[in-house]
């Protein structure tokens, strides 16, 4: 078994396309600074999907991810004057999304602690498995395809990770950012990013093995 560089061949053609577009963001950013909202609309069109996916993988809830992404774009527009252009706009935008997602998760955790747990909430056993999983997915379990069910479980497993590990894992293994970009986004040294990622991968592997049994 050779340990080849399996990542990041993750970015698909669409990602590479968006990477090319990201290089063209400079002009639109300059126009945005002059108050051109239409230029910002172009940037939103380009990056909305990627940003939504980042938020969704970190938060784990689609609607909440939409709200967070929307707020992040708004913040980006308001703070675009502070964007110095040292990094790519795309990277800067992603860090804003991550910040919003992080604060959202913090608020969500605090809220769930204050409120009494619902009987319908998923209950984790000591080994991380969801005991009342069937009840939790009762709403649409009949219609769910096997793949979507698997994805939901994987997402739940990702959500069970430590927030720091989760962010690195999402950015690297799901979104395919380079270590350098992740370092800029999280304002962390390269080595810290890597060690955090390796721990995250091991942790996810363990959770997935517990939840799914044999990995496919």
């Amino acid at each position: 078994m050779t340990g080849g560089n399996t990542l990041p061949d993750n970015p698909c053609s669409e990602d590479s396309h968006s990477q090319i577009e990201a290089d063209d963001d400079t002009d639109f950013v300059a126009r945005c600074r002059r108050g051109d909202t239409e230029a910002f609309a172009v940037l939103v069109r380009r990056h909305q999907k990627k940003m939504l996916n980042v938020a969704f993988r970190v938060i784990g809830d689609y609607d909440e991810a939409c709200d967070v992404t929307q707020e992040a774009f708004l913040s980006a527009y308001l703070a675009i004057g502070k964007f110095r252009g040292d990094a790519k706009f795309f990277t800067w935008l992603c860090s804003i999304v991550l910040n919003h997602a992080r604060s959202h998760m913090t608020q969500k955790t605090a809220r769930s602690r204050r409120e009494a747990g619902s009987l319908d909430d998923p209950v984790k056993s000591k080994d991380g498995a969801f005991l009342n999983e069937a009840l939790y997915h009762e709403g649409g379990i009949v219609e769910r395809l096997e793949k979507r069910e698997l994805e939901a479980k994987v997402q739940e497993c990702i959500g069970s990770l430590d927030s720091e590990q989760k962010e690195v894992l999402v950015l690297r293994d799901i979104q395919g950012f380079s270590y350098e970009e992740i370092s800029v986004m999280l304002k962390l040294p390269d080595g810290t990013v890597k060690s955090r990622l390796f721990r995250a991968r091991n942790a996810l592997k363990d959770v997935l093995c517990r939840v799914l049994g044999d990995l496919i």
Binding site: F56, Y62, L74, K194, F198, L204, L208, C209, L215
Partner: protein
């Protein structure tokens, strides 16, 4: 290396990020340890699962939702001036109209609500009168003054005196006693000496120290209502002799001739002084500073309004406006301050306000 240590390094091993030694050690260990080999396989599978996760799609109109919020914020971000003037084609005309309306209202209020302004406004003269050498409503006064100035200039002035009756009198006020007197002295549209050219008129005005502006003002004031004309005519047309007396009094108390013949603003004030009655007092005192304070206090006691105050080491001057009933009281009070000499007093006035010019001189 133990299995746990190997397992921790497996992700880095998968990305080929280890040193050559570490890599050799792990490769050898994996060949011997099925548990660690399985862990590496699971790690690869987990990575594969993550790679195969489908991207979620943005909801419909997601971009529009974001941009509506952005545009909303962008509007709020705009500065005050931008908000004030946008859209220009609507706001600017409204603002111009509003400004004009306010200006017109302010002018109207000023004209309606300033009785003093009306009082001191010069009496209008028809242009035909100007052409015949008449000057303005202030001309009687200036002519009276000019008689003291230069004999050369006396001729037109005396000529003007003779033509005092040449003022325009509105026909509606002929019935009263006063009007009767005026009528007897002022025949309307009487024949006058040959007219002066307009330029001559202005020269005459300048020589007499009256601003041409007052002439213009008088021609503008011509447009006022008939009632105002009549009232002003009644006020202005004091008998010539009485006016001369007042003027002589004013000059006698030492009011600066410069002030008397100053251009229009002070000239207009002087006209107002003529219309009011004037008391001229001289108080001889020992201590100037104390005396001035005392006089001010006495004026305050009789509710007089101090209009002007001049003060130096040798002389002091106070001009005050005082109600007629309080004049006698004021005189009594001032006698306590020093030796009071009443140099000039107006004819008996039943009511209203009078002006008191109080000179305070040092008594050696």
């Amino acid at each position: 290396m133990t299995c746990n240590e190997i397992e921790k390094l497996l992700p880095a091993y998968g990305e080929d990020l280890l040193s050559h030694e570490e890599r050799v050690i792990i490769t050898r260990h994996l060949a011997l340890c099925p548990r660690c080999t399985q862990a590496l396989v699971d790690l690869k599978k987990a990575e594969k699962i993550l790679k195969n996760l489908e991207e979620v799609e943005a909801p419909p109109f997601f971009e529009q939702r974001i941009m509506s919020r952005v545009r909303e914020e962008a509007k709020q971000k705009q500065g005050f001036l931008w908000k004030f003037f946008y859209p220009l084609h609507i706001k600017v005309p409204i603002q111009v109209l509003a400004t004009l309306l306010i200006a017109v209202l302010a002018f109207h209020v000023y004209r309606q609500g300033e009785p003093e302004t009306k009082q001191i406004a010069p009496f209008p003269l028809p242009l035909t009168e100007l052409g015949r050498g008449q000057v303005t409503a202030t001309s009687p006064r200036t002519s009276a003054l000019s008689s003291d100035v230069s004999p050369i200039r006396q001729a037109p002035a005396s000529n003007h005196h003779d033509n005092d009756q040449g003022f325009f009198v509105p026909p509606s006020k002929k019935g009263g006693k006063e009007e009767g007197r005026v009528d007897s002295q002022v025949p309307i549209r009487e024949e006058h000496p040959p007219a002066m050219k307009t330029s001559d008129t202005f020269m005459a005005v300048r020589e007499k120290g009256v601003s041409p502006v007052s002439t213009e003002t008088s021609s503008k004031a011509k447009d006022r209502s008939e009632k105002q004309h009549t009232d002003k005519a009644r006020e202005t047309f004091l008998p010539a002799m009485e006016r001369k007396e007042i003027m002589a009094d004013t000059v006698a108390v030492g009011e600066s001739p410069k002030t008397m013949s100053a251009p229009s603003p002070s000239g207009m004030t002087a006209v107002a002084d003529i219309k009011r009655s004037v008391y001229d007092l001289t108080i001889q005192v020992i201590d100037m500073d104390v005396a001035i304070r005392e006089v001010e206090a006495r004026l305050g006691q009789v509710k007089a309004r101090i209009i002007e105050k001049k003060d130096d080491k040798e002389r002091g001057f106070l001009r005050a406006e005082i109600a007629v009933p309080n004049v006698a009281t004021l005189l009594d009070l001032l006698r306590a301050v020093g030796k009071v000499t009443l140099e000039a007093s107006p004819p008996a006035i039943p009511d209203g306000n009078v002006t008191a010019n109080i000179k305070i001189v040092h008594y050696p």
